[in-house]
């Protein structure tokens, strides 16, 4: 499986192919902990936040919220302890970049968290890792031990009076715990239900204290932002989407893997047909889900010949989103009705059950899909699916409801033929973009 950079020098991925890349020695021999040294040697917490703001770094977990802004929400004068929690609950279908970052370069995450903790006044911090990634927790624990022994973690870091501790924490198989407030509930030992926002975690998060929850890839970008300066890091990408992004490519391409691209990479068609070495077996591209299962599906005609720039603005303009960068490529053998049913079942399994629209709605969606699959489709089933989705999207307690809605809305809109075939058992036609009798 490929891991490397295209269109730029590897930044996040520059150590991943080195032998023993996870070890402290290799990390230090390749610029590791220099950014931390720079921070502790003369930057104030506000200086650090300022650089992150200048970098235009946006949350890499999927929501894309400006990281500098999120850090700025933490009230500096609060008497409560602050926490930095790394969201390593990577569970968005199609996404596997955080896994390789933690597996091959765990110290980069540690250094990023230390700098964030310094900037926010946090002393105890957690890496919430999904339960299935147990081997990564083991790798991370070893790296944390090395960092402690090397004076980079614990008391009096690098001889200064900065004390900071980081612990790993295991999840136990719940996609919803990737949502930051559900993660905090899970970290407190409760069921992983989300919380109402406001208050936002930056004000009242873990144990009611100011907390910043950031994705692995967001935190691993921080050392380079400090080292290069926020402005230089931002210039690697575009004005509103700074830096580089890791794309997890899977599906019907010849070379799946983790690709580091500069933000605004030009363009998606070239990426698929050249950088990923084109389609398996030379078959035709049919659809791409570019940002993890929750984003709108893109038909080939929205990609080929359309010069889709791979950044937040470019993907929105092309009718989808960057999301988590989980890039799933599908060829003409895929029936989009089936692929959408597969994802709908995922959301139904992962729905936490807290709010009625999502709990009941995802269940009904799966029931309708199964009935259609059995051959008992009815002429207005596509409209029925959209009606059910209309009762979930924007009406659920957390974005999982929206995430369950968008694949169905976009699949019916962009691939009405695949639905027509199924719901009308081969008959009917597409009218006003909807399959009907």
């Amino acid at each position: 499986m490929f891991i490397g950079a295209i269109g730029c020098e590897p930044l996040q991925l520059r150590r991943v192919l080195l032998e023993n890349s996870a070890s402290l020695d290799v990390y230090r021999a390749n610029g590791g902990y220099e950014a931390l040294r720079q921070v502790l040697n003369g930057m104030s917490p506000d200086d650090v936040i300022g650089e992150v703001k200048k970098s235009a770094l946006r949350g890499r977990g999927g929501a894309g919220f400006p990281t500098g802004m999120k850090w700025g929400f933490v009230p500096k004068d609060s008497p409560k302890p602050k926490y930095v929690v790394c969201n390593a609950d990577e569970s968005e279908p199609g996404t596997f970049k955080d896994r390789y970052l933690m597996e091959r370069d765990p110290h980069m995450l540690i250094e990023g968290m230390l700098i964030a903790a310094y900037a926010l006044g946090a002393r105890v911090n957690y890496i919430y890792t999904r339960g299935e990634y147990r081997y990564l927790i083991e790798i991370m624990d070893r790296a944390l031990e090395e960092a402690r022994a090397g004076g980079f973690l614990g008391e009096k870091i690098l001889g200064t009076d900065f004390n900071c501790e980081i612990y790993t924490h295991t999840g136990a198989g719940a996609y919803i715990c990737g949502e930051e407030t559900a993660l905090l509930n899970s970290l407190e030992g409760l069921r992983g239900h989300p919380r109402m926002k406001p208050p936002f975690p930056a004000v009242a998060g873990l144990y009611g204290c100011p907390t910043v929850v950031n994705n692995v890839e967001t935190l691993t970008a921080v050392p380079d932002i400090i080292r290069m300066g926020g402005e230089a890091w931002q210039k690697l990408g575009t004005e509103k989407s700074g830096g580089t992004k890791l794309w997890s490519v899977s599906g019907h391409v010849n070379r799946p893997g983790v690709y580091e691209l500069p933000m605004g990479y030009d363009d998606m068609e070239k990426f698929i047909h050249e950088d990923c070495r084109g389609m398996l077996g030379g078959r035709k591209l049919k659809a791409v889900i570019p940002g993890g299962s929750s984003v709108y599906i893109m038909p080939a005609k929205d990609i080929e010949g359309k010069d889709v720039r791979m950044d937040y603005e470019g993907l929105v303009a092309a009718g989808s989103m960057v999301g988590s960068g989980g890039f799933i490529v599908m060829d003409e053998t895929v029936d989009v009705f089936e692929s959408t049913k597969n994802l709908t079942e995922f959301y139904k399994h992962e729905s936490c059950g807290w709010c009625t629209p999502c709990r009941e709605g995802t269940d009904w969606l799966v029931k309708v899909f199964k009935r259609i699959e059995k051959g008992e489709g009815r002429p207005d089933d596509a409209q029925l699916l959209l009606d059910i989705v209309d009762n979930i999207e924007g009406k659920s307690f957390c974005p999982l409801g929206d995430a369950a809605s968008w694949p169905i809305q976009s699949a019916i809109k962009k691939f009405p033929e695949d639905f027509r075939r199924k719901v009308t058992n081969g008959g009917g036609h597409v009218k006003d973009g909807l399959p009907t009798a």
Partner: protein
């Protein structure tokens, strides 16, 4: 509400306060102490502790294990059940020694999961969700395991087996049956 409501599954154990509390070795107690020390609030350690208790009590949270957790964490039996029933990796019923978890989500599905599932299930003679009568194997279809670039794949306990082919599946099953392969629980 229509008649087609989704029934809540009854608890697989009696909801009574268990008489016996599980006892663990000093090494396991030290491991548990290590986890408790990480948090200012004891209850935060509930998931790490559940994995340890599950490992020590034959692969699931049996009544003495649940009693131990409630005692150690200073919470009620119902608090333990509340959390245990939420998370898919916490077992409230016994599972086989080798728990084969095959990823069924989109990337794995389009890269050959149905073939893997069929091969595993026909060799073991069970369907997904079932355990072999001798208690050696359980098969589950699970959601995305973050291994999409090396699909199709499965997890045995905590261990990942990726880029599966017919031959690799056969080899994994052979080595589980001969005892050569670890069941991935730690």
């Amino acid at each position: 509400m229509s008649q087609q409501f989704t029934p809540n599954n009854p608890l697989p154990q009696e909801a009574k306060v268990p008489q016996e509390i599980a006892v663990f070795s000093p090494e396991v107690e030290a491991e548990i102490d290590g986890h408790l020390a990480k948090y200012p609030v004891r209850r935060s350690a509930i998931l790490p502790l559940m994995f340890i208790v599950q490992r020590e009590r034959g692969g699931y949270l049996d009544p003495p294990g649940v009693a131990y957790l409630a005692d150690r964490l200073g919470v009620r039996i119902t608090d333990i059940w509340e959390v245990a029933t939420f998370y898919s990796m916490i077992n409230t019923e016994p599972v086989g020694k080798y728990h084969l978890q095959i990823c069924k989500t989109l990337s794995c599905k389009i890269m050959g999961e149905p073939r893997v599932t069929e091969r595993v299930c026909s060799r073991l003679g069970i369907r997904p969700g079932e355990t072999t009568p001798d208690g050696q194997f359980s098969v589950s279809l699970v959601e995305c395991l973050g291994s999409c670039g090396t699909a199709p794949m499965m997890q045995v306990g905590f261990d990942y087996y990726e880029n599966l082919t017919d031959e690799k599946v056969d080899e994994i099953l052979d080595k589980c049956q001969s005892g050569e392969l670890s069941n991935g629980v730690r």
